[in-house]
Symmetry: C2
Subunit: 260 residues, 2 copies
């Protein structure tokens, strides 16, 4: 009758968050299920933010958008509660990080709209399964992320440049990775650039603006993907009086199968 | 110096609409460019309608959504004017067809938001190129479309069931068609059903609710795709005081390459 050797399901992970037994990162948990970046903001700003996502789909792949005040993202995870089912949140006031609570029941407002956006965990898992190296995982680091000179399509007060993540590999592996990622359009899809970082305005490949630097070995090229930090950066820049996101790495685990 | 043997480009088609020389259907014009269903409505309803599209992407594949009052759908067609660049419009008042003008400059409001949704012309063109029959084109008719029992995910006042289009072919051709349409997610993507119409609640395959009936030959099966009439039906049902759409077959020709 023991279930101790089974991997947790998506609903197990969400319930562990809800009862407070899971407060750490969700990387590798509930494999096979899409994990999501979370952005929660008042309805007043929601139509602008939704257009920003729609116009920049590689960086902001939409998995679900709730009705105003709805606490259950029904399309992505029936029976879930967005106020409690993440391990950790970030609360932003006027674009500044104010606190990092493990639930947001007290902060909830009837005009809150929740956006779930696809994240890179899904394609990294598929790449690893196909024998493609994911350097930052090998090195036990956070993925390196960079500001670029590529402008996003703006919408209302949401503006900014594309932020990219980088994974180094051989050119042959890069082609394989592109082929695999084609099947994950909701997880940032195919790479947006490969090779010379300067072409997309990256100043110093050894100094990522977010995350940690990783080693690029002899014969490898840097491969760049649109990154979920892009909408977060646009959100910070908009300096809304109040917005809530997931804490980095502490994602919302959905019931959507990977690659759906 | 003659250009009489060249096919018109997307911008040629839009300009012909603007100056009033094109007032007919756009089928087959500007091949290689995505044609779009058009829905224009006041900002007040736009966030609900955008969520309806986002939740029902097979029926409502979003190509572009404008800012309120913006007459140029910049992402899909720079330099265009949505008030003049369609051959024919439909104006709906309280869910009832009020008029069919060839331009809407006088009706334009500063709070209007324009939605461009992918249409089936794109995948039909690809199917014909691959030797897959498209019966209603062979017969010179409109595609048959049916109400189904498949409920859409609702958003605000936008609700309803999925409307599907049907093209008959052999089972082998149906598999080929599915493979081709996989590459056109912005043009309704792969079929949603093949075979027995009753399974999806179609009452009589010989009596489509919209368009014209077509012949299903010995050895052929009906193949069903999510259809752009779905959002139009939801729009009618919502009975907004004012909304504007394209007239059937009179689409907005974009600068987006087919399959983008």
């Amino acid at each position: 009758m023991s279930t101790s050797f089974e991997l947790p399901s998506a609903v197990d992970v969400r319930l562990a968050c809800r009862v407070g037994t899971l407060k750490g990162p969700t990387t590798g948990l509930a494999p096979g299920w899409e994990q999501a970046n979370v952005v929660i903001l008042p309805q007043k700003y929601a139509f602008d933010f939704l257009r920003f996502c729609q116009r920049n789909p590689r960086a902001c792949p939409l998995l679900d958008v709730t009705d105003p005040g709805q606490t259950e993202p029904r399309c992505a995870a029936g029976g879930s509660d967005i106020r409690t089912d993440l391990p950790k949140y970030r609360v932003w006031r006027n674009g500044v990080l104010a606190e990092e609570p493990t639930e947001i029941t007290e902060l909830w407002q009837d005009d809150f709209v929740t956006f779930l956006l696809g994240c890179s965990f899904t394609f990294e898992h598929a790449m690893l399964s196909a024998g493609i190296p994911v350097r930052h995982i090998e090195m036990g680091r956070n993925v390196p992320m960079y500001d670029t000179s590529l402008e996003c399509q703006s919408a209302g007060q949401f503006t900014g440049n594309l932020v990219v993540s980088m994974r180094p590999m051989t050119p042959v592996k890069a082609l394989e990775a592109a082929h695999i990622c084609e099947h994950f359009p909701k997880s940032h899809g195919t790479p947006i650039h490969v090779g010379d970082p300067k072409v997309i305005g990256i100043k110093d490949i050894k100094q990522p603006e977010y995350g940690d630097a990783v080693e690029i070995r002899e014969g490898e090229v840097p491969v760049f993907w649109a990154c979920g930090v892009t909408p977060q950066a646009a959100l910070m820049r908009a300096k809304l009086p109040l917005a809530i996101t997931h804490a980095p790495g502490h994602m919302f685990v959905t019931d959507l199968p990977s690659g759906s």
